[in-house]
């Protein structure tokens, strides 16, 4: 991981004394060099729920985290930490008192993003050649590809999640939660999903779930176990 991470903290800093009536908007930029080795240590507590491979499960109660862009993971963790994103069970685990400071956050996402992905990720019900698949491709291309990429690869820089390789029951549940306003998300993304009905979302996500993940990103077999956990 050669990238660096920037954390932007902007807000109003209230100053006292003579400047009390002229609060200025301030921006703090912090920069971290990720250390995946420390990330492995931090990940220990995550693995107690996400399992050592971070592959998620087939019914979509847990997402596949392995192979996700580090920037996406970081953004999600920050949103879970602050409560912007509802996740009552996980929130206490990503507080400073449990997880540590920003360096640990950066390290753990760097570690997770480099884990090989579950090759047996769950695909939607309509395979290539069915009318539903074709309809899904049209919807995906027209409404989603601009941000999530033509292959569902996401966008590391823009912190747009990689959908390719994510379990279909998970993306389906999340997209519907965003549509129903049960999960807050990027405003543009929210606007797009609100234009489509739930079945159209299913079709689009079915399509992206059928796309192939580059072999180099996948674990060799579904029986692969994370050697870091001996």
């Amino acid at each position: 991981m050669k990238g660096r991470f920037f954390l932007l903290l902007s807000g109003l800093l209230l100053l006292s004394g003579a400047w009390a009536d002229a609060p200025a908007k301030m921006k703090i930029v912090l920069e971290f060099q990720p250390d995946p080795l420390n990330g492995r240590k931090v990940f220990d507590v995550c693995a107690r729920c996400h399992m050592p491979e971070a592959w998620g499960n087939e019914d979509g109660t847990y997402p596949q985290l392995a192979g996700q862009h580090a920037t996406v993971l970081l953004r999600q963790l920050m949103e879970i930490r602050t409560g912007q994103r509802a996740n009552a069970l996980m929130r206490p685990f990503v507080q400073e008192r449990t997880l540590g400071g920003y360096q640990n956050l950066v390290d753990v996402v760097a570690y997770i993003s480099r884990l090989p992905m579950d090759p047996a990720y769950i695909r939607g019900p309509w395979s290539e050649g069915t009318p539903e698949y074709d309809k899904g491709r049209q919807i995906y291309t027209a409404h989603c590809a601009a941000c999530h990429g033509p292959e569902g690869e996401g966008n590391a820089q823009g912190a747009v999640p990689r959908l390719q390789g994510q379990h279909y029951p998970y993306t389906r549940r999340q997209a519907i939660a965003i549509k129903r306003g049960q999960r807050r998300a990027d405003l543009a993304m929210q606007a797009v999903v609100s234009q489509l009905d739930e079945h159209e979302l299913e079709l689009a996500l079915n399509y992206v779930s059928q796309l192939e993940v580059p072999k180099t990103d996948l674990a060799p077999t579904p029986n692969w176990r994370n050697p870091d956990f001996k």
Binding site: V45, P52, D59, T61, A86, L89
Partner: protein, 454 residues
């Protein structure tokens, strides 16, 4: 069970059964007290209260009554409302407030505070948009879809029974109900309610030395790890306080049931001088006055004890006539995938009184509820919901000051050949550390947050 007036619960249930036959449309109507007043049928006035409608606002949608506000009932009520905001959900519990059993072992030895374990049903109900009613459920009339409680009758469209467990003292040879009461109060197991916990804490604090006996029941008892955890935390307390105490851990199983490596190592590495572990100790009788527990081969005298007997599905299920007589833990006769009573898709059984062999835990109950709530909401709309596995997570404190813990997560799958559920992937962390200690607190905090506050 008989009270002073000579009225047995059975007779009351019969009375309410009779009532069911004579007034089938009662669900929405109250029974006029005078109709069941004294003289007629011999029901004393005090009982009139039992037969009138409970003081609840008229339902504003399909009414779902959830019995038991433990980990399962609280999660059910919340997720039912989330799945279908039009459901009118009423959560009923005989207790006034919630005390967590998970994390109670660290509390017994001063690692966390009671505040952390206690929560208000009112907060849970307000934050999640349902009603809470403090009442004891006495019986069901499934024909007319009514629940009888000591606060009156409640009609339902769907009923979820999550009453947890009762102790099954008969399985350790204590059959006389009076003896059972005595044993339950003198040497409480600490796996059902807060009074037990308070008594056990006092016992530990006042113990000055000698033999402290603990038991691990056989069968699918509540929380496989917790009896071993309790042995460790108590041993840690004795060790840190330099007490000449010996914990005699009588295990009715032939080996440690869960996280065997971790617990076995803790017993030998940390507590070799404090814990004597005796597997395959099938308890056949308990002499309360003589402070002796007996197995087929030996008698064990103790100075003090916490006796956790085998468990069974709450007696309520048996009294309601929905128990499966062949189930060793006397659980309800329900569909293993959809959780409803066989032949009655209006009544569901969840949590530790479920019939499936999932490990009996609060986390299991919470994850299960997310699915069962969807099943019930789906039933109302005629929609099928695919089965998904609950997950069991358990944390066990091994040492204190600071708290160091081990943990386990497991999922289940259905084995088509054996026609039963089996463990699927499991991840255990059996080396105790402070990360685990902090994680156990974070885990409970997250679940409390989920069940009570958001």
């Amino acid at each position: 069970m008989s009270d002073q007036a000579g009225f047995s619960r059975r007779r009351f249930l019969q009375a309410s059964g009779l009532l069911a036959a004579s007034a089938p449309a009662l669900a929405a109507e109250s029974v006029r007290p005078e109709a069941s007043g004294k003289g007629e049928g011999g029901v004393p006035p005090a009982f009139a209260r039992l037969l009138r409608k409970a003081d609840l606002p008229a339902p504003r949608g399909a009414r779902v009554v959830v019995v038991g506000a433990g980990w399962s009932g609280l999660s059910m009520a919340k997720y039912l409302k989330l799945q279908n905001p039009d459901f009118d959900v009423v959560l009923v519990d005989r207790q006034a407030s919630f005390t967590s059993l998970p994390l109670s072992n660290p509390w017994l030895v001063g690692e966390i505070s009671m505040d952390f374990l206690c929560h208000s049903f009112f907060d849970a109900a307000r934050n999640h948009g349902y009603l809470f009613l403090q009442a004891t459920v006495l019986g069901l009339d499934r024909e007319a879809r009514r629940v009888f409680t000591d606060a009156g009758v409640i009609g339902y469209d769907y009923l979820v029974l999550a009453p947890g467990i009762d102790y099954d003292y008969e399985r350790i040879g204590v059959e006389d109900p009076v003896e059972q009461q005595l044993l339950a109060q003198r040497y409480p197991g600490g796996f059902v309610n807060a009074s037990e916990l308070l008594t056990i804490r006092r016992k530990i604090q006042q113990f000055r030395g000698g033999t402290f006996l603990l038991t691990v029941p056989d069968g699918d008892y509540r929380c496989s790890a917790a009896p071993y955890e309790r042995a460790c935390t108590m041993a840690a307390w004795f060790k840190h306080n330099g007490l000449p105490a010996k914990i005699l851990l009588l295990d009715m199983n032939n080996e440690i049931k869960i996280m065997k490596d971790g617990f076995a190592r803790a017993f030998s590495e940390l507590y070799g001088d404090y814990i004597e572990y005796l597997p395959s100790s099938l308890i056949s009788s308990v002499d309360v006055a003589g402070r002796t527990v007996s197995t087929e081969f030996d008698d064990y005298r103790f100075d003090d004890a916490v006796i956790y007997p085998p468990i069974r599905g709450a007696r309520m299920l048996e009294e309601a006539g929905i128990m499966n007589p062949h189930s060793p833990e006397k659980t309800a006769n329900t569909d293993p995938f959809r959780y409803h009573v066989i032949g009655d898709e209006r009544v569901y059984v969840t949590g530790d009184s479920r019939s499936q062999p999932f490990s009996r835990g609060g986390h299991t109950a919470n994850s299960e509820a997310r699915y069962v709530a969807e099943v019930i909401a789906g039933h109302a709309l005629g929609r099928e919901v695919a089965w998904r596995s609950p997950q069991t997570m358990c944390f066990s404190a091994i040492d204190i000051r600071p708290m160091r813990a081990i943990s386990l997560i497991t999922f289940y799958r259905y084995d088509e050949v054996k026609k039963d559920f089996a463990f699927d992937r499991t991840h255990a962390v059996e080396q105790w550390d402070e990360v685990g200690g902090r994680a156990s607190v974070a885990w409970a905090e997250g679940l409390f947050q989920d069940m009570f506050y958001e």
